[in-house]
Symmetry: C3
Subunit: 276 residues, 3 copies
């Protein structure tokens, strides 16, 4: 049985781009399970794709192939790669999309074998011409070394802000706004410890670990807004906001059946401080 392929792109759903990639895969191997993560990464927004990939990865079956195409540099000399890390195989352009899931011991190969791509490859849709065929062949068991030469260094994009300023102020930023109007921040990950405390293990970067009592902490936003911790969405009074430990262990600014982002006029990159 071939590995499943998870698809993550900025292609949207109004064009047949994703369907065509799936057709290419099905033509190579009709037995591969195809699962969409999302295709609504904002066009060309590599950091957003990298965050979504990091958020999804812990729940993917071991051995899965992840086909990730956010590719504003398509047709330039940027490299096409197959990456192996943590037991997964990632396929996509080498433009930083994999920055937040790279772990020690990863290996990467440049996609260069024309037998594992479509016969014609243009300059505008490598998702179809190069990445979808590579994903299909990888999921079918073609060894990584067949795809091309081993690579040394991959492109990395900057990490989201996450640092201590003094001992009691953990500084971060808004990194994603979800469907419900919750603002995901870079503050995390937090794992429930005992009744009062959370273990803070930075999900990225070099920030120091700590034990933190979130119940007694506050989130400070621009404009002197201060928010308190809540255990779940329904604890937040109507028209107000709070902060919650979201499903990936990151602090989220949230409201109850309302959009916190609208209520507080939040945007990506807004500075957020956790005062512990």
């Amino acid at each position: 049985m071939p590995a499943p392929i998870f698809l993550l792109t900025d292609f949207g759903t109004k064009d047949p781009f994703v369907g065509i990639m799936k057709a290419v895969i099905s033509d190579i191997n009709p037995n591969i399970q195809l699962i969409d993560l999302t295709h609504e990464v904002p066009p060309g927004d590599i950091r957003s794709g990298a965050i979504t990939l990091w958020q999804s990865l812990p729940y993917l079956p071991d051995g899965s192939v992840i086909l990730t195409v956010i590719d504003p540099g398509v047709g330039t000399r940027r490299r096409s790669i197959l990456l192996q890390s943590q037991g997964f195989t990632f396929i996509g352009p080498d433009n930083g999309t994999f920055s937040y899931i790279l772990r020690e011991g990863y290996q990467a190969w440049e996609l260069g074998n024309p037998d594992l791509a479509l016969p014609q490859t243009g300059t505008t849709f490598h998702g179809r011409d190069i990445f979808a065929p590579a994903a299909a062949h990888a999921a079918s068991g073609v060894p990584a070394s067949n795809f091309g030469p081993l690579l040394k260094e991959l492109i990395r994009i900057p990490q989201p802000a996450l640092s201590w300023s003094g001992t009691g102020r953990l500084e971060g930023e808004v990194i994603h706004i979800d469907r419900f109007g919750n603002a995901l921040t870079s503050l995390g990950q937090f794992f429930p410890q005992d009744q009062d405390t959370y273990a803070f293990h930075p999900w990225i970067g070099e920030c120091l670990q700590a034990e933190i009592n979130l119940h007694k902490s506050q989130v400070h936003l621009p404009g002197k807004v201060k928010l308190s911790w809540v255990a779940n969405f329904t604890e937040i009074p109507d028209g107000r906001c709070g902060f919650i430990v979201g499903s990936s262990g990151l602090i989220e600014i949230a409201a109850n059946r309302q959009s916190a982002v609208n209520l507080l006029n939040l945007a990506i990159n807004n500075k957020i401080i956790l005062v512990v």
Copy 2:
């Protein structure tokens, strides 16, 4: 062969929420067919989800599992359930989403077996932590009684308006607006009988049955608008509206290649009267 799983949520498609749920299912059993009903139920709109579920059910294969997560109360003490009714298995929060498909003889169990959930369950994403694993195990043949204790009563939400006022006036309301701008009403179901009449069998509630000649009936809307019956969309003159028996047997306010909702400024809960 496992049962297929149909997914119905308010998670939208811009975040990886649905993809992550499918990953969890695929990890438990990669042979399950996964089919989306829709993920664009308005956030937290339980009634809308309940209507969509009612509308879809007659076309699902016998034995299907339906994973339904519209869950504004996630993380509170609201119950998580497995429901069996009409040969189907439903998984989701007990918040009323199943109100319109409950039939006599249904049985429900509270999801409480930690072996049939993810090892960690947070307070914000039970679709991933509890409901997706439960659906995967149910589709794979795990007996309902393994999930937890039997339940007596389920939460029910109010039914849409549907009643006779006098003998000749059937009163209802707009319950859904579709992609094309048609307004689905609670007036129905109507089944074609002979050349002139339809059999009216109330789809919900205690309203009296009748035989009705829709060709001679009128739909009255707020603002004294009166509409006539049409056999299909193309019979409606440009810029005008009519009413039609839609694909679920409910009366719809429709236009021809235009949005009836825009033309008439209709909204959910608008009062609609069929004068027979």
Copy 3:
């Protein structure tokens, strides 16, 4: 193993229409792979559906079934058909959606066998009642002649503009706007030949073939805007536009990480001239 079914509709994703069609297919044969091309064809826009179908077809596995439902005339006397062309089987209403993929030697049958449809067929959702069952049966190997009588002529819609005006001016129009704000034009197809020239093979209609040096050509838009050829998106200066040979061999008006359509205020049907 049954053939895969590719789905192309204007049903959107907010209603359960597509999920219900897939349920009907899964009920007939649960082993069919179901792949979405797109469901966001603008409501009732047959030409847009026809273009998307043409664009997708070269990448579909031989023998695929394509279920195409853009059906503003549902419930009227327009015919429902099964079409065989180029080794594919197409199912949908006979309203012109297949105009751009019809090739010599095609054969079509009218869907008329009630044993290959749902027991009840209404007047508003033939995607569910007629086309989805037909696609499932066709993908499962039911011979075309079982569905109904052979047809002579199919409905065709007008072709997009594509013609020479004098020797050096190739006239066309904007035919689609994609997710990224690129404007696809009817000018094409262009296939790279040698360093300087492209072979122009008209994708439709009777326009004369030619060899064209696109590097020395210009695209003229309404309002005296003139654009130059680029090899890839990143060559276009910020805030400016260029033209590129897109993934289907058609000329596209494009920008670099911006919407060309917004920058130039382009719309479907805008006249475009390639001056060679």
